[in-house]
C-alpha cells in the first residue's frame, strides 16, 4: 500500500516537473523571435514617412504566411492609407465611403486591374498575387494616388512620420534589409543592408528621395481679365 502511494506521489511529481519544463520552454520561445528597429531618413537627414522596410533571411528560408483581407478606403476623394504593405496572395477590398462613385485602376505590372464606377463596397476583393509595387489611381479624380507594396516576405513594416518602424517576430540570425519609398531614387537593392537579428539593435537607411511632383488637388487660377 505504501509502495503504491509512493509510486503515485512520484508520478505526480514527475508530471509536475514535466509541466514546469514545458511551460518554461514555452516562456523561453519568445526570446527566439525578436524585433529590430529601423530608421529611414532622406538625404537631408529628415525622417522618411511611409517608407516600406522589409527583410529576407540570409539563408533564404523565408517562412510562409496566411494572407488576411485588407482594406484600402476612399474617403473625401483620397485613398486611405496612401501606402499599404501586404504579403503576396492578400485580398484587398477598396470600399468607397464617398457620396460619389470612384473608378479605381492600376497599370502596374504587379497587378493590372480596373474597378469601374462603383460606390460602397465592391463585391469581390482584388487578390494581389505577384510581388512588386502597385500604383493605384482614380479615373474620375486624377489627384487620387496610392501605393500597395506586395511583399514576398512576411517581415515588413511601414515607417511613421518619425521615419521609424519595427520589424517584429523575426527568428534570430542574419538578414538582408531593403527599403522602398514612392519617391525613392534608385532601386531597393541599391540600399540593401545586412544586419543580425538578436545582435544588432537597429538598421538605418539614408535614401535619396526625388521631389514629390504629382497632380495636385488644389485649384489653380489662370490669368486673363482683359
Amino acid at each position: 500500500m505504501e509502495i503504491q502511494n509512493g509510486f503515485r506521489s512520484c508520478a505526480k511529481l514527475s508530471a509536475l516537473v514535466a509541466f514546469n519544463v514545458i511551460f518554461a520552454l514555452l516562456q523561453l520561445r519568445p526570446a527566439y523571435s525578436q524585433n529590430i528597429e529601423v530608421l529611414v531618413r532622406d538625404a537631408n537627414g529628415a525622417p522618411a514617412f511611409n517608407a516600406v522596410v522589409y527583410a529576407y533571411p540570409a539563408d533564404g528560408n523565408v517562412p510562409g504566411w496566411s494572407p488576411k483581407t485588407v482594406i484600402v478606403d476612399q474617403i473625401d476623394k483620397e485613398f486611405t492609407p496612401s501606402v499599404t504593405i501586404v504579403p503576396v496572395g492578400t485580398p484587398i477590398f477598396f470600399p468607397n465611403d464617398d457620396d460619389i462613385r470612384h473608378h479605381v485602376y492600376s497599370f502596374s505590372q504587379a497587378k493590372m486591374f480596373e474597378l469601374p464606377l462603383y460606390s460602397g463596397k465592391q463585391a469581390k476583393p482584388v487578390v494581389f498575387d505577384k510581388p512588386g509595387v502597385v500604383a493605384l489611381g482614380c479615373n474620375i479624380h486624377d489627384w487620387m494616388v496610392a501605393y500597395i507594396y506586395v511583399s514576398d516576405t512576411p517581415y515588413y513594416a511601414k515607417t511613421g512620420k518619425d521615419g521609424k518602424t519595427r520589424l517584429e517576430n523575426l527568428e534570430p540570425g542574419r538578414y538582408n534589409f531593403f527599403v522602398w519609398h514612392p519617391w525613392m531614387k534608385g532601386k531597393p537593392e541599391d540600399y540593401r543592408k545586412f544586419a543580425t537579428v538578436g545582435g544588432d539593435s537597429r538598421v538605418e537607411f539614408d535614401v535619396k528621395l526625388r521631389a514629390n511632383l504629382h497632380i495636385r488637388r488644389a485649384p489653380a487660377i489662370g490669368g486673363g481679365g482683359y
Binding site: R101, L117, S119, N139, N212, L213, G224
Partner: protein, 308 residues
C-alpha cells in the same frame, strides 16, 4: 424706331440664350438623376491691378486701377458614366475698384460643364464642354449686361508634371441699358458699346515644378468686338461701330471696335493646403484694329483659391 427695333432684338437674343441654356440644363440634369453626385464649392478671393482698364490707345485715355475680387461658386458634380461627368453650379462674383467706382461689379450666374475622358489615367485626353451665363450689374448701370460663354477644350497630362491644353471659346455680352442711339445734334450713333462678341483660341500649359508649386502658361488669340474708352478722336470714332460718353471716366468716350487681341499669361500657383492655393499671375495683352488703333495692357492677379 431704331431704338425700339434694337431693344426688341436684344430682348429676343436674351430670351433665346436663356432658353437654350435652361434647356441644356434640364436635359443634362435629367440624364444625371441616376448618378450619384457630390456638392462642389469653389471660392476665390484676391486682388487685381490693371494698368489700362480703359483699353485705351492714348496716354490721355489710359487709366490704371486696382480691384479686390471675390467669387463663390456652388453646385454639384454628377458622374454619369465611366468617363463622363457633368458639373452644374451657381456663381456669385463681386469686385470693388480703388479709383473708378463705376466699375464695381456684382454678378450672378450659372455654369454648366460636361467632362469627357477618352481612356484611363491622367494621360488620357480629357475634353470639356462648358457653358455659362451671368447677369453683371455695375455701379455705372450703363455697363450692366448679360454675358454668355461657350467653350470646348481638350487637355492631357504628360506624366504627372506637364499638362497641355487647347481650347476654343465664344463669348457674348449684351448691354442691358442701351438707349439705342446717342445723338449729337442731328448725328446719331449706335450706343450699344458693350454689345460685344468674340471667338478665342487658347493654348495652355501647366508645369508642376516643386512639391507645392505649379507654373501656368497660356496664349489667347481673340477675334471680335472690344470696348475701348478714350478721348474723342475722329480716327477712333470712324473705326467704331458704337459710341457713347462714359460716365465712369468723365470726359472720355466708350467705343466698340472690331479688333484682334493676343495675350500671354504666366502664373505661379502655390499649394497652401490640399484644397487651397495662392495664385499670382501676369497677363500682357495687345489689341489691334484694322484702322490702326492699337492698345496694350498689363494685368496682375493675386488670388487665393479654395476648392472643396
Amino acid at each position: 424706331m431704331y431704338k425700339e427695333r434694337h431693344q426688341i432684338s436684344l430682348h429676343f437674343q436674351s430670351t433665346r440664350f436663356a432658353t437654350v441654356f435652361l434647356a441644356l440644363l434640364v436635359v443634362f440634369s435629367n440624364s444625371a438623376t441616376d448618378a450619384r453626385a457630390y456638392w462642389t464649392l469653389d471660392a476665390d478671393v484676391g486682388g487685381r491691378y490693371s494698368d489700362n482698364v480703359t483699353n485705351s490707345s492714348s496716354s490721355a485715355g489710359k487709366k490704371g486701377d486696382s480691384a479686390t475680387l471675390a467669387e463663390l461658386s456652388a453646385g454639384a458634380f454628377y458622374v454619369v458614366g465611366e468617363y463622363t461627368g457633368i458639373g452644374i453650379s451657381a456663381n456669385l462674383k463681386g469686385g470693388t475698384n480703388a479709383t473708378y467706382g463705376g466699375l464695381n461689379l456684382f454678378s450672378t450666374g450659372l455654369s454648366y460643364r460636361v467632362s469627357q475622358k477618352f481612356g484611363l489615367g491622367p494621360e488620357a485626353i480629357r475634353a470639356v464642354l462648358s457653358l455659362s451665363g451671368s447677369r453683371d450689374s455695375y455701379v455705372d448701370s450703363g455697363r450692366d449686361s448679360n454675358s454668355y460663354r461657350a467653350g470646348l477644350s481638350a487637355s492631357r497630362w504628360f506624366g504627372e508634371t506637364i499638362r497641355l491644353g487647347i481650347g476654343y471659346e465664344y463669348d457674348k455680352r449684351e448691354q442691358l441699358n442701351s438707349k439705342g442711339s446717342f445723338c449729337i445734334g442731328s448725328y446719331c450713333y449706335n450706343d450699344d458699346i458693350y454689345g460685344v462678341a468674340g471667338n478665342t483660341g487658347i493654348l495652355s500649359a501647366d508645369v508642376i515644378v516643386t512639391e507645392m508649386d505649379m507654373l501656368a502658361f497660356s496664349y489667347r488669340h481673340r477675334s471680335g468686338d472690344v470696348t475701348s474708352v478714350d478721348a474723342y478722336t475722329p480716327s477712333v470714332l470712324s473705326a467704331s461701330s458704337a459710341y457713347a460718353p462714359d460716365k465712369t471716366f468723365g470726359g472720355l468716350y466708350a467705343y466698340r471696335l472690331s479688333a484682334v487681341t493676343d495675350s500671354i499669361s504666366v502664373g505661379v500657383s502655390r499649394e497652401l493646403l490640399r484644397k487651397m492655393s495662392l495664385n499670382l499671375d501676369y497677363t500682357y495683352y495687345t489689341t489691334g484694329t484694322g484702322g490702326g488703333i492699337n492698345y496694350q495692357g498689363n494685368i496682375f492677379n493675386l488670388i487665393v483659391a479654395y476648392s472643396m
